[in-house]
């Protein structure tokens, strides 16, 4: 095992990779091949990120198995259950581990923090058993019995189809998939990716598997109903509102990049994405970024970006260049996804005045309406000031009110008081 321990748990790596999803694994493997001492941290207990999450009863796809094996073989120091929450100084991150606080020193940093689902507020969305689409899948992978349960799948993005296929296989009943994008924009999406045989093949297979389920485009959830948990959902579909009984509402509106760590370190972020050069290097020399934080493009693009970042961190730029063409093909997906699943105007009007937008602090839509900026709303209403620190309501208010919600403050994740107490010599991060 590499890495050096000090009294407060300090370790040093030539290359530190944050995130062990496809991009992070690819980056770590490539950097390790360059003969460097590589560390990878992830807050989960397994590699694979969200897309390759196996859980307690999942069987990983063949491609994932190959990457898992390579990851295991390459001598990378992997710290699971570890969450980076602050920067102590340039080149040293602070992370909360199951055993306490660790200082993670690095020569080069690769940010591969993935993406999360975008949630939009509508009446009833705070009821228990209304979850993200990917969230329901993750929960089922970790032991939630779904056989015979009715799951309405709603929102936007390719994830809805993938999740539905999985849930069907696990015995769920899916009365409807409700996709806010129009049929026309989905058709354009298919054409834009027509050069990509693999993707189209996957799409066709999904379509066949899903043939038994009503798939509605230009459709969205209007209200979730229930007392202690969701019991039914009103869906706008085929020009009218239809009430559908369900045990779960799996609802996410495509994905948003996780840029909090990049933002904390000071990397340039534009339109919600971390800006990188040809070698995946951010605006900060020696700090790279790969996968969804640079723009949501799916697993194939994440893998190639990760490889380029890893090789570049290892100063094997010639080898990295050989991957540029493959990345360019993958980049097509980013713009195609953005175009196809752009959120429609009607979704801005789903929340009623008393619908909560900030779930942590219970801040309603009407309380936010007077404000013109995120910062003022935060200070006056505490919107985005709760434990999730705006990860849920930030992207929502960005869509609803056009607020710029990219700025972050340390710690980027809440840390237990006793952990802070161990950091007495750290300067107060508050200005």
């Amino acid at each position: 095992m590499s890495g050096q321990m000090s009294s407060r748990g300090r370790r040093y790596f030539d290359v530190l990779v944050v995130g062990a999803g496809p991009a992070g694994m690819a980056a770590a493997i490539s950097a390790a091949k360059c003969g460097l001492r590589v560390g990878t941290v992830d807050d989960n207990f397994h590699p694979g990120g969200q897309i390759w999450r196996t859980g307690s009863r999942g069987v990983p796809v063949a491609e994932a198995v190959r990457w898992f094996e390579a990851f295991e073989r390459s001598g990378i120091d992997v710290l699971f259950g570890t969450r980076v929450f602050d920067q102590l100084e340039r080149g040293v991150l602070l992370a909360e581990t199951p055993l306490g606080i660790s200082e993670l020193g690095y020569g080069k940093l690769i940010i591969a923090t993935g993406a999360r689902e975008r949630f939009l507020p509508f009446p009833g969305w705070t009821l228990p058993n209304v979850m993200g689409a990917g969230a329901v899948q993750a929960m089922v992978k970790h032991g939630l019995p779904i056989k015979g349960k009715r799951v309405v799948v709603a929102g936007s993005g390719p994830l809805l189809m993938a999740v539905s296929t999985y849930l069907l296989k696990m015995g769920a009943r899916i009365p409807v998939i409700s996709e806010q994008a129009s049929w026309r924009s989905l058709a354009r999406f298919a054409v834009a990716l027509s050069g990509q045989r693999v993707k189209i093949g996957q799409a066709l297979r999904l379509k066949m598997e899903l043939a038994r389920i009503p798939f509605s485009t230009s459709s969205w959830p209007v209200e979730a109903h229930g007392k202690d948990r969701v019991e039914s959902v009103s869906i706008w579909r085929r020009g009218r509102v239809e009430n559908i009984r369900c045990d779960y509402l799996a609802c996410g509106f495509h994905l948003v990049p996780n840029t909090e760590l990049a933002s904390l370190i000071g990397c340039r972020i534009e339109r919600g994405c971390v800006q990188v050069d040809d070698f995946q290097q951010t605006s900060i020399t020696g700090t790279f970024c790969a996968g969804e934080p640079t723009g949501v493009g799916g697993v194939e693009l994440a893998l190639v970006e990760g490889q380029i970042a890893g090789l570049a961190a290892g100063e094997r730029t010639a080898e990295a260049c050989l991957l540029f063409r493959k990345r360019k093909r993958g980049m097509k997906v980013v713009s195609a996804l953005e175009d196809a699943f752009r959120l429609r105007e009607e979704l801005r009007r789903l929340a009623s005045s008393d619908t909560l937008v900030c779930r942590c602090e219970d801040v309603s839509f009407s309380r936010l309406q007077p404000y013109t900026a995120w910062r003022a709303a935060k200070l006056q209403t505490r919107c985005g000031m709760g434990p999730c620190q705006g990860r849920v309501c930030g992207p929502a208010t960005q869509f609803l009110f056009n607020w710029n919600t990219e700025s972050v403050r340390p710690p980027i994740f809440p840390v237990l008081v006793e952990s802070w107490a161990n950091l007495a010599d750290k300067p107060n991060p508050e200005p």
Partner: protein
């Protein structure tokens, strides 16, 4: 290794499949994870450790994201943080 894990949720004993997250155990127990500031029940939302809606007290430790923790034998889980 035994296939089942016995734990308590709000003092009530329950048995789950090994590998089940604490979040799933609370859903199976029919218990919301917490009560919001406005008094409404809340359960897991994101399933990946970012929304904090699934936070519970585990063995006395506050603010545990139950979707990222596996059930362990003898675990004492308290909801309604």
């Amino acid at each position: 290794m035994p296939d089942r894990v016995v734990l308590t949720i709000n003092g009530v004993t329950m048995e789950v499949q090994r590998g089940t997250t604490v979040a799933n155990a609370t859903v199976l127990a029919g218990q919301p994870c917490r009560t919001s500031a406005g008094g409404a029940p809340r359960g897991p939302l994101c399933g990946m450790g970012i929304c904090f809606e699934c936070r519970v007290i585990i063995n006395g430790r506050l603010h545990c994201r139950s979707c990222q923790m596996l059930c362990e034998p003898g675990m004492d889980v308290r909801t309604d943080v």
